[in-house]
Symmetry: C2
Subunit: 353 residues, 2 copies
């Protein structure tokens, strides 16, 4: 079988048929809350908005971050733009991140002119010994908990140790928390510190990926100001209609998020049990909606699964995990079940069964 | 009078009262067309869209660029993001642009890792002799006609010469045409060539600045692909709701644009005559909605006009024109008239009259 040079998820995009099972794209399949669209007016003022973001949205967000005001936020085109802006304005030098990592991290860290330095995750979580030895040569660290692609959540003890070390060293901490509302084990813990920057989004919690609204928060005024200055030149305000929708989601009853979490947990339990049943070596997901099992000959597996079984999965090497494959379980339990059957057949076929 | 260090338009943003006359911000004050919002559904699929942009929008745009298909476009967060993506993916080296220039150009050219080289405009237009001597050491050129801040439109003869030289040298041409529908003298001329990239927007033509939808077009497939790849990591798809509105605008009757142009021309005629009447030295605007007269002691003028006469204007030095001041005439004729009165008083005051 000829296996093409699989370099990025782009190879699968737009190539789905009715029978495709996609464990590929990392986005909720569920609908946004009704509240999101209530009372949105298309007739609103469509002149430029504040580059920093609409005051009402920042004001409302500030209630979720104790001791904050609207001034501590910048509303962005999703968490992606928040990260991109940050990497362009942070002090030049090394940036420490865990490996496996979200596949856009390395390209935008480099595009921003920073040098990525990796700490190998252990069982999908930060190994403090390795972290401590490497952080000393870094200007900033990037934490992603819950993690895409490992599905793991850092222990609060680890996060507090990171708070202390980075505070002592004067190192910036960027905490990408876009899956903060999808943690199965505990409440989210917001890292504290004068040089902390939290990156967040409305995409995953409210099933609004295509709307593109995210934000960054920081008590560090110069970081906030520098991001606003950069955004003034690179994209200006985030779409005003989209910000209106984002503001609305904040009135969604807490039960919406609780219900979502119940659905995700059921899917997590199912896929984790089934993949263990196939004899795969994988970490138990504690948040987000990804599993990252070890797979023999992952390129051949991903390509066969796609071509012979019409099922999309993502190569671990795109995430810095060359011996693994990522499965997003943003699918109904029925679809996951069908997909597991195909994965089994594919593995059996590769093992000559 | 104490004049602060006026470093950017940010100094005036959000500081307007009811009586403020703002010749500052460069955006239409008129309403968007009714058609823009007709039938937009909030219940549309809000999962990620194609990074390149919605197929229907690109397809419709392709009809405006002869010999093109939807593949030649990338839909972006306004023209700003289109330019930012381009400067990040173009070959490293010198980029030639006219001076005075739009104030975001130099920061994003530099942020993208390119080196800006300026050709001094003559009477607000490109001087081909200087252009020719400098283009040889450049990898790309940036054209902005109609120009912000000069209000000038390049002659078609000049544009054709640029086509030829850049073709012969294999130099990329970025043509920022966001004011293409606001030309008082002639139809827009689209620069042709295999390495041409046109940047455009729905903001100025349809009074939708806050919506943030623009695009880039190019026959150069590798440029288009590289921009998509960069955008995959830096912001993902442009807001889907905003793209729906942009698609709608393309059904706006031609009379909408013609009516707008009539309004702009009336304002142009008025402000040009009045500023000449004040004895100012300025170029006649041929497109867009800016005038850039020479002003003695421009910093003092801009600050006095703001503090004493509650009228906002922008320092020419932000646009590379330190002896000038930019006035946007996106105001009703009545407001322009009131503003002119204040400008006269300010100038008289400075001249000790």
């Amino acid at each position: 079988m000829d296996i093409p040079n699989l370099t990025s998820p782009a190879q699968f995009i737009g190539k789905q048929s009715k029978d495709t099972i996609s464990f590929g794209s990392g986005q909720p399949d569920l609908p946004p809350p009704e509240e999101a669209f209530r009372g949105i007016s298309m007739r609103r003022d469509m002149r430029y908005g504040m580059i920093q973001g609409e005051e009402a949205l920042r004001e409302k967000l500030s209630r979720e971050y104790s001791g904050s005001t609207a001034q501590n936020f910048v509303i962005t085109n999703g968490a992606s733009e928040a990260l991109d802006l940050l990497f362009r304005v942070l002090p030049r030098g090394n940036l420490l991140l865990g490996k496996p990592y979200y596949y856009s991290y390395v390209p935008i860290i480099k595009a921003g002119g920073l040098n990525p330095v990796c700490t190998e995750l252990e069982e999908g979580r930060i190994n403090m010994e390795d972290f401590e030895s490497k952080v000393r040569e870094c200007k900033a660290v990037l934490i992603n908990s819950p993690s895409n692609p490992t599905g793991r959540v850092e222990n609060i003890k680890t996060l507090k140790e990171i708070e202390k070390i980075t505070h002592d060293l004067g190192v910036y901490v960027i905490s990408d928390e876009v899956y903060k509302d999808l943690i199965y084990e505990r409440e989210n813990y917001i890292i504290k510190g004068e040089h902390v920057i939290t990156v967040n989004s409305f995409s995953k919690t409210y099933c609004l990926c295509g709307l593109r609204v995210g934000y960054l928060w920081s008590p560090d005024k110069s970081i906030v100001d520098n991001c606003i200055e950069m955004k003034t030149h690179t994209s200006m305000n985030t779409c005003l209609l989209a910000q209106d929708v984002a503001l609305n989601t904040m009135d969604t009853p807490k039960s919406y998020v609780a219900n979502q979490l119940k659905i995700w947990k059921e899917r997590r339990d199912f896929i984790y049990k089934e993949l263990l049943g196939l004899g795969l070596d994988l970490w138990k997901p504690e948040g987000a909606f990804y599993v990252l099992p070890k797979i023999n000959k992952p390129r051949e597996f991903v390509w066969r699964l796609y071509k012979q079984y019409n099922t999309i999965s993502y190569l671990g090497e795109w995430f810095g995990a060359p011996d693994r494959v990522r499965f997003s379980y943003a699918l109904s339990v029925n679809q996951i079940e069908e997909g597991i059957g195909r994965i089994k057949k594919c593995l059996d076929g590769m093992n000559g069964k």
